[in-house]
Amino acid sequence: MPKNNISHNSEKLTGAEILIKALVNEEVDTIFGYPGGAILPFYDALYRQNRIRHILTRHEQAAAHAAEGYARSTGKVGVITVTSGPGATNAITGLTDAYLDSIPLICFSGQVATSLIGTDGFQEADITGLTRSCTKHNYLVKDVADLGYIIHEAFHIARSGRPGPVLIDMPKDVQNNKAEYNGKITVNRKSCEHKPYKKEIDRSKILEAIKIMASAKKPILYTGGGVVNSGDRASRLLVELVHLTKFPITNTLMGLGAFPASDKHFIGMLGMHGTYEANMAMHECDVMINIGARFDDRVTGRVNAFSPNSKKIHVDIDDASIDKIIKVEVGIVGDAADVIEMMIHEWKAHNFESKDNIQSWWNQINSWQKIDSLSYENSTKSIKPEFALQTLNKNTKKYLPFVSTDVGQHQMWAAQYIQFEEPKKWLTSGGLGTMGYGVPAAIGAQIANPKSLTICVSGDASFLMNMQELSTIKQYNLPVKIFIMNNGYMGMVRQWQELIYEKRESQSYMESLPDFVDLAKSFGIKGMRCENPKDLDSAINEMINYNGPVLFDCVVDKSENVFPMIPAGAAHNEILLGKQASQYVQKDINAV
């Protein structure tokens, strides 16, 4: 590790104090965590300062998800501090979640003293070994003199290129020992300069892409989380590109909000539970421009039947994503905003105009839209989950709320029915699909955006996975609105069992659910319940207008399924609408 010009006069600090100073230098003002034996020196230094606010979650997994929500909603790096052993292993799910969804996160874990490492010390776990495959990079700090540099390098790694989590394991003696700290240092690791995304964007490839785009008769833009990660500039430029080309655009689950849902060029989310028009357009297009998405299996369906007649352009900051699943004609490695800007520049320079030759393509798309694939049979007796989220969207969209979700049916309905006009408002566990993500992620977003309406759309099963966080919500009086779509089931598991396993509901019924209103009350939080569709409007408004946290038990139809649905292992044009559910044909028993 490079040593810096050590001035002998400079004051020596403990490792714990260096950590505090380095965090301040990285402009960190909020961290999430949970104390314990091996991280106590840091917590003591934390007690003796006033620059950094610590949010005490009730479980380390929740600390990690809260930091993800914080990072996703602000574009900053999320920071967590946990103790050794179980503290660190509890955080692993959150780190893996951040790894798959490319969220910049730094986890500081306590560790037994260096002399005890490898001896099965109390609360010892080989956390650098355990997290190697779910972090971009990790460190075991053996010498306090290295700590300052390591912290600044870790921040650089977490936010550069394709963002992701980094873990720094700090033995207790390293936190107690003293060294000089020389402030924020420019990262000078040579290998970082060799990463593919560091190269200049290849202009010849941009030209190649633009030419293909200009010749398209049936083009589609398919954009993902990379546009959100790139920042607000990427979203602005994406809108410009779409208005310039008049191309239809679809977003992945992770990309929602990067393009305004109300724009007429937006044809909805694509993928397993995407709209009919988005999936049909992907299948029938002649040119596909993927910006910041990674051809996830939830998007492609059966790979060998994926968009069979199109030329494909793939823009990604991670060169390993290009040609990984789908072979493309033009692969461009670069940041979404930079690439889109160059595309716009070249498009204008070549005087390409949005030609009439895509009008018949739009006519085709409009005819698919008329099928109205998100329609459903409403009821006056029970609350249909689709109706619940439509009602929630109708009453909240003027506030441009942050919306987090857990994982399952409610997540898909939220993605389908809640309209996002801005990036960074939609917080969901897309890659890992982590039940229990929603409540802590909403906590993180609310901490970062105290004045904004923050809603967690959850399910009865998902909510139970991190419900201890009601205590965190109460402690910091966070006005988070938790909207539980309570159908008494692990809904998505039940849906697959109904469609694929002849309705054998193996272990998917949520028996012995708590009374959520009483549960909220026991935490000192307002609880509400709504069971009748005609009361929903006013109940949702009561929730929004309540000055404080609310746990809302929205009792919905037990047997509703999420449609449209592309069966796992099927092609986009084999998409099923709600009324075709009986035609469900299993395509591949091993597809997940």
Binding site: R132, R189, S191, H194, A320
Partner: protein
Amino acid sequence: MTDIIKKHVIAILVDNEFGALARIVELFSARGCNIESLNVAPITLDKKLSRITITSYTNSKTIDLICKLLTRIIPVYRAVELTREKGYIERELALVKIIGDEEKRQEAIKIADKYRTHIVDITGDSVVFEVIGTSEMIDEVIEKLSLLGLDGVSRTGVAAGFKGDKKLNDIS
């Protein structure tokens, strides 16, 4: 065809630090890819940069992806598959021990003479040969010596590079 399983040799330039090798190896194991041979040693005088050479039997598609993923690892500078390139050369060294009577030892020495071998040690009934060549050639030598009291083999794994002035950095 991308599905044909064949031998691939990959060279990786990496910072000489703990954890780097573990990350590299885990990329293979996480994809169910066995590492047939591996060697690692610093290649600069200041010992800061190491070169790792890995041999694995798998399909080209997996190797392509692994090479890209290897480059993502922070301490890695470059990861290149060498076997597909023109001018590929490889060598491996093996220490092969024979224990046998006079007749078998003489027979072994006769066979070994046909290959590029040195005798490193003769103690009592044992002979230790140093064999240098391609992996396939070493396989051949070992096979021939197997009936002559073969007692132990230690192989270094493949070291590989290119003929002429071709460098790792020339490969895109």
